[in-house]
């Protein structure tokens, strides 16, 4: 029957693509959907050095390899935005924004991942995408020889700062805590001569009239000193928010918006599975997302088999 599948996978990041590979190899009829493109957050990663056996390569390169792997195995893929998932017991329905397409499926694997979190301070909306960016690889080139501020101190912030400091004249890091990234990367960044780090700061606003011109922030320590740094551009890396709005009514998301799963990647709703960054977990990495995808596909295939 058209539009009827054994397993629909929502999200084509490393978790979704691995789930698709395992599901199709378990003889399931599989559909993988993504609103934007295959790859998920991987595509914004300049360099991946910790995916076992892959050596050093760009996130996009790894994403392409994974996607091509799914296509070689015959996984059906479409660019669609899922807006609702309904639990009808033995059958689930997945509704997409485009033409209100509805898919009927025995099992759903949710692998929608996360999106970059925003600060929500004055000036952020005004300069979003015209001064404030969330992707150094995409927008860094225009700041060659200019001054840039990076907000955040985690892995993404530090890795992207190393790249930006190599092309900008001056790079200022403003972070809520101290640098919390991989110690080797933090040391490399601290050694760069054009980098200034302001830890324990709260961003107050982004300023400018016809273009972004600076960032105002204050210390979270007792002195609460306010500072203003002029800049040509800002890159924000303050973590990620779960992309779980489409399945809010299934009652499987926690207060942070993530899905609680068991060790088989099952949610509390039979036939609904979670995988990757969208699930409640300690370590969000490509390799752990792939692992989740494999486990979720295996569990989903077992679930589908129970109807045969």
């Amino acid at each position: 029957m058209e539009n009827t599948y054994d397993i629909v996978i929502v999200g084509a990041g490393p978790a979704g693509m691995t789930a698709a590979i395992y599901a199709i190899r378990a003889n399931m009829k599989v559909l993988m959907l993504d609103r934007l493109s295959p790859g998920g957050q991987m595509i914004n990663t300049n360099e991946v050095e910790n995916y076992t056996g892959a050596g050093k390569l760009s996130g996009a390169e790894l994403a392409i390899r994974m996607f091509e792997h799914t296509q070689e195995l015959g996984v059906e893929f479409d660019y669609k935005t899922v807006i609702d998932i309904a639990d009808g017991g033995d059958w689930k329905t997945v509704t997409c924004e485009e033409d209100n397409t509805v898919y009927r499926t025995r099992a759903v694997i949710l692998a929608t991942g996360t999106v970059p979190r925003r600060l929500g301070v004055p000036g952020e909306d005004t300069w979003a995408a015209s001064g404030i960016s969330w992707c150094a690889i995409c927008d860094g080139a225009q700041y060659c020889g200019k001054e840039v501020v990076v907000i955040g101190g985690g892995n993404s912030a530090v890795e992207e700062s190393i790249y930006l400091a190599g092309i900008c004249t001056k790079l200022t890091i403003v972070t809520m805590f101290d640098l919390t990234a991989d110690p080797k990367a933090c040391d490399q960044l601290r050694r760069m001569p054009n980098v200034t780090i302001y830890p324990y700061q709260e961003v107050l606003e982004f300023t400018g009239s016809d273009r972004l011109t600076g960032v105002r922030f204050k210390s979270t320590k007792e002195d609460a000193t306010e500072r203003y740094v002029t800049c040509d551009g800002v890159f924000e890396y303050i973590g990620f928010a779960a992309s779980s709005q489409a399945f809010a009514r299934l009652g499987i998301i926690d207060r942070s918006g993530c899905i609680q799963t068991d060790s088989h990647m099952r949610t509390s709703v039979p036939g609904i599975f979670g995988a990757g960054d969208i699930t409640v977990k300690h370590l969000r990495q490509i390799v752990t997302a792939c692992s989740d995808g494999a486990v979720a596909a295996n569990s989903a295939a077992n679930y589908v088999e129970s109807f045969r």
Partner: protein, 102 residues
């Protein structure tokens, strides 16, 4: 149809016909993934011309067209830029921008 061109070849294009010009960079992940989306659109609309231009190797043209980052998609009709999309965008948004040129 997707064709890679240089700034020199851009000058000799038929300026009046509707077209999509995409600036990309070889180092950019979202550009690589956008290429999958554009290939899919090209299958759907094989007659619509899509030209891709290397941002890093065609600096004069990107300056002239005010392209600051990549990927950037410019939608042209009758020699005028009708709209532009910056960054990796959803397929329906790109289709809508193409359909608006009709």
């Amino acid at each position: 149809m997707i064709t890679e061109i240089s700034e020199h070849e851009y000058e000799s294009l038929d300026q009046s016909s509707p077209k999509l010009i995409e600036f990309y960079s070889k180092t950019c992940g979202p550009c690589k993934m956008l290429s999958f989306v554009l290939k899919d659109i090209s299958k759907q609309k094989p007659e619509f011309p899509i030209y891709i231009i290397d941002f890093d190797e065609n600096r004069e043209l990107k300056e002239r067209l005010g392209v600051k980052g990549f990927p950037t998609m410019l939608f042209f009709k009758d020699g005028k830029e009708i709209s532009r999309l910056e960054g990796l965008k959803q397929k329906p948004a790109i289709i809508n921008a193409i359909d608006a040129l009709a």
